[in-house]
Amino acid sequence: MKKAKVLIIDDEQELVTALTERLNLRGYDASGVVSLSEAINFIKQIPDVIILDIGLQDTDGLEVLKRIKEINPSIQVIMLSGYGDTERINKSLQSGAFDYLIKPVDIEDLVSKIDSAKLKKEESI
C-alpha cells in the first residue's frame, strides 16, 4: 500500500520540522506548515491526512477543520493538540475529525492513526 500523503499544520515550527522529517523517514509524503495561509496551497493538492493543531496563531483549529471538510470531506484530519479537555475533543469529532491526539504523541501511535485514516479515506472514495 502506498504510504499516505500527510500535511502537518502546527504553529510550532520545531515540532512541524521534526515530525515531517520523521514521517518522511518512515516513507510518508509529509509536508509541514505553521499557518493557515501556507496550508491553503497544500490542501488544494488534496493530502490523504492532515495533522492539525487546534490552537493555531492566526485562527482557530476547529474552524480550519470545518473549512477542510467543506473543501474536501474525504481528507481525514487528525487533531493534535496540547489541550486535552472533553469539550475540545467532542467538538473536533463532531466537526468531522478522524481522531484527536494529545501532545506529546508516540510516533508509532501517530503512524498507526495515519494509516487508519488513509484507509478510511480510500473507503470513502
Binding site: 510550532e12 520545531e14 521534526a18 520523521r22 482557530d60 496540547g82 489541550y83 486535552g84 510516533i107
Partner: protein, 565 residues
C-alpha cells in the same frame, strides 16, 4: 486542608450577635414601652380629672347641704316667730306669765333658743325671758335696732352684747300703729351655728366657718382665729352669689380649695378651706394598682421581645452561618474551577514543548536507526539544542506555576504592579491569541511598588481579564491601564470592547450566584469584590451596551499601612 467552618467561625463571632440582640431588645422594649407610658399617663390624667371633678362636686354638694341646713334652721325660726308675733293676742307680749308660757312652748319646739324679749319702738326691752337680767335694757343705739326701721325681719351678726357670749338674734317687727311698733327678738348662741357647720365632713387640716360681709368671723375657725376676730385670709369673697363657688388657692405654697356661698336672709357667708389634696389619693392608687399592672406589662413586653428577638437573631445567625458555609464552599468550588481552567492552559503550554522534545528525541532515534550517526553530528547538535530550548520553555512554565501556587498562602509582599498584570496575561496568552484579541497596555512608568497580597490581586485580575476575553468577539480589544491616584492609591482599569452589560444587569454584577454565562458559577466577581474590599481597595464597573465594559480597581499602595489605620 480547606476548612470552611473554621473560616466562618473566625468571621462570625458570638459577640456580634449578642450585641445585635442587645440593641434590638433595648430598642424594641423602649418603643413598646412608649405606648404603655402614654396609656399610663393618659390614665393618670384621666383619673386625676375624675378625682378632681368628683372632689369639687362633692365639696359643692356638701357646701350646699350645710348652707341649706343653716338656711332651713334660720327660716324655720323666722316663720315661727312671724306666726307668733302676728297671730298671738297682744297680751302675750305685755303679760309676763303669758309671754313666759309662749317662750316655753317655743323653746320646746325650736332648738337653740336661749332667750326671748319684746322691745318697744323706743328700743327698751319691756319683757325678757331668759338666763340673763336684760329687762329694761336699752337697744336704741344698737345697729340692729337702727336697721329695723327699714325691715320687718332681721338676723343679726354674731355679737357679744350685754351677756358677753357670742350669739346672734332674730328680730321680727310688728307694726302696732302708723308710728308705733313692737319687736320680738330671740337670741341663739353661736354654738348652734358651729354644730350646724360640723355636718360638713372635713379632714383635720381643713376648715369651715362663717364670716359676715365685713370679713368678721361669725364662728370659730381652726386656722384663722375665733369668732368676732377679723378673717386673716387675703381673698375676695363676692357676697351676692346664690351658688357655691370653688377656687383653687395657694396656701403655704400648697394647693388648697376655697369654697364659699352666701346664706339667704342672713349676713353670713359660709366659707370652707380644704387643704387635703384629692390627688394624694391617686399615687396610692397608682402604687398599688397601676404600678403593679405596669410592672407586669413591662415584664411581659420584655419577655416577649427577648424571646422573639432571641429566636429571630438565632435564626439569622444560623442562616448567616449556613450562607457563609455555602459561599465558602462555592468559593472553594470556584477556585477549583479557576485552577481547572488554569491547568488546561498550563497543560497545553507544557504539552507543546514536550511534543517538540518528543519529536526531536524521536528524530534522533530515527536517524540512528535509519542513517549514520557520524554524518549527522551537526544535526544531532541542533536537535539537542532544540530539546534544551523546549526544556527551558517547560521550566519557565513550571516556575510560573510554582510562583502561582505560593500565592495560595495569601501573604503580603512588595511587587511591581505592571509586572504582576503581565504575569496574569501570561497565564491566558493562548486564549487571547486564540481569539486574536489585541491587548494594549497603558502602564504608568514610575508606578511605585505596591504592598499587598499579590496572589489574591492576581486572582481578581485573572478573573476580570478572563471575563473580558470571554466578552469580546474574535479580534476584540482589551485595554489595561495603570495610574497613580495619589500618594497612597493606585488604579487599574480593564476595558474591553465587548457587547457591554445592560444597566438592569450591571447592578447585580457583584451579587453572589449572579451570572450571564452558561457555565459560570456566578461567584467570580462576588469573590473578586470581597478580595478587593478585604485588601482595602475598591472595585467599580461601568458599561455601555454595544460599546464595552470597564472595570476600575483602586488599591492602597501599602495594604499593611492601610489596614493598621
Amino acid at each position: 486542608m480547606f476548612n470552611p467552618l473554621k473560616q466562618v467561625l473566625s468571621k462570625l463571632t458570638e459577640e456580634r450577635y449578642f450585641n445585635l440582640k442587645f440593641r434590638l431588645i433595648l430598642l424594641n422594649t423602649f418603643f413598646a414601652i412608649i405606648p404603655l407610658g402614654i396609656v399610663i399617663t393618659i390614665t393618670y390624667l384621666w383619673i386625676y380629672q375624675i378625682v378632681h371633678d368628683d372632689f369639687r362636686n362633692n365639696l359643692k354638694w356638701q357646701m350646699e347641704e350645710t348652707r341649706h341646713s343653716i338656711e332651713f334652721f334660720i327660716s324655720e325660726r323666722i316663720s315661727a316667730l312671724r306666726f307668733v308675733s302676728s297671730s298671738y293676742p297682744e297680751e302675750y307680749f305685755t303679760d309676763e306669765k303669758k309671754f313666759h308660757r309662749l317662750f316655753s312652748d317655743f323653746k320646746r319646739e325650736f332648738e337653740g333658743i336661749v332667750d326671748i324679749g319684746v322691745i318697744n319702738s323706743k328700743g327698751i326691752q319691756t319683757l325678757y325671758i331668759g338666763p340673763y337680767q336684760l329687762t329694761g335694757r336699752d337697744y336704741s343705739q344698737a345697729e340692729w335696732f337702727k336697721d329695723m326701721a327699714m325691715r320687718t325681719v332681721y338676723v343679726t351678726d354674731v355679737f357679744l352684747g350685754y351677756r358677753k357670749i357670742p350669739h346672734f338674734s332674730i328680730v321680727i317687727k310688728k307694726e302696732l300703729s302708723s308710728k308705733d311698733f313692737r319687736l320680738l327678738r330671740v337670741s341663739i348662741n353661736m354654738d348652734i351655728l358651729q354644730k350646724l357647720l360640723s355636718n360638713l365632713e372635713i379632714e383635720s387640716q381643713d376648715d369651715i366657718f362663717l364670716v359676715n360681709r365685713d370679713k368678721i368671723l361669725q364662728t370659730n375657725s381652726k386656722l384663722f382665729g375665733n369668732a368676732l376676730e377679723p378673717l386673716k385670709l387675703k381673698v375676695t369673697i363676692e357676697d351676692d352669689t346664690n351658688h357655691i363657688k370653688i377656687y383653687e388657692y395657694d396656701i403655704d405654697r400648697k394647693q388648697a380649695y376655697l369654697a364659699y356661698g352666701t346664706i339667704k336672709n342672713t349676713p353670713w357667708i359660709l366659707v370652707a378651706l380644704i387643704r387635703s389634696e384629692p390627688y394624694e389619693k391617686i399615687p396610692s392608687f397608682f402604687t398599688r394598682e397601676v404600678t403593679m399592672i405596669s410592672i407586669f406589662s413591662i415584664a411581659l413586653i420584655f419577655f416577649v421581645i427577648t424571646t422573639s428577638i432571641n429566636t429571630l437573631v438565632n435564626r439569622v445567625q444560623k442562616a448567616d452561618y449556613e450562607r457563609e458555609i455555602a459561599i465558602a464552599n462555592a468559593e472553594h468550588a470556584d477556585k477549583l474551577a479557576s485552577i481547572g481552567r488554569l491547568a488546561a492552559g498550563v497543560a497545553h503550554e507544557i504539552n507543546n514543548p514536550l511534543a517538540i522534545i518528543n519529536e526531536k528525541a524521536g528524530l534522533m532515534k530515527d536517524l540512528i536507526e535509519y542513517g549514520d550517526i557520524t554524518q549527522n553530528k551537526e544535526k544531532f547538535l541542533q536537535l539537542i539544542g532544540s530539546i534544551q530550548d523546549s526544556v527551558v520553555r517547560c521550566r519557565t512554565i513550571t516556575h510560573r506555576l510554582l510562583s502561582f501556587s505560593r500565592k495560595i498562602d495569601k501573604t503580603t509582599e512588595q511587587f511591581q504592579l505592571n509586572e504582576a498584570i503581565q504575569e496574569v496575561i501570561g497565564f491566558i496568552v493562548k486564549e487571547i491569541e486564540a481569539k486574536s484579541i489585541n491587548v494594549t497596555y497603558d502602564f504608568q512608568d514610575n508606578l511605585p511598588k505596591i504592598t499587598t497580597d499579590k496572589g489574591q490581586l492576581q486572582q481578581v485580575l485573572l478573573n476580570i481579564i478572563n471575563n473580558a476575553v470571554d466578552a469580546v468577539d474574535m479580534g476584540g480589544k482589551i485595554e489595561i491601564k495603570t495610574e497613580l491616584i495619589d500618594n497612597n492609591r493606585i488604579r487599574i482599569l480593564i476595558k474591553d470592547n465587548g457587547p457591554g452589560i445592560p444597566k438592569e444587569r450591571l447592578k447585580h454584577i457583584f451579587e453572589p450566584f449572579y451570572t450571564t454565562k452558561k457555565k459560570g458559577t456566578g461567584l467570580g466577581l462576588y469573590i473578586s469584590y470581597g478580595i478587593i474590599k478585604k485588601l482595602g481597595g475598591d472595585i467599580k464597573v461601568s458599561s455601555e451596551v454595544d460599546k464595552g465594559t470597564t472595570f476600575s480597581i483602586e488599591m492602597p499602595i501599602n495594604f499593611e499601612t492601610e489596614r493598621s489605620k
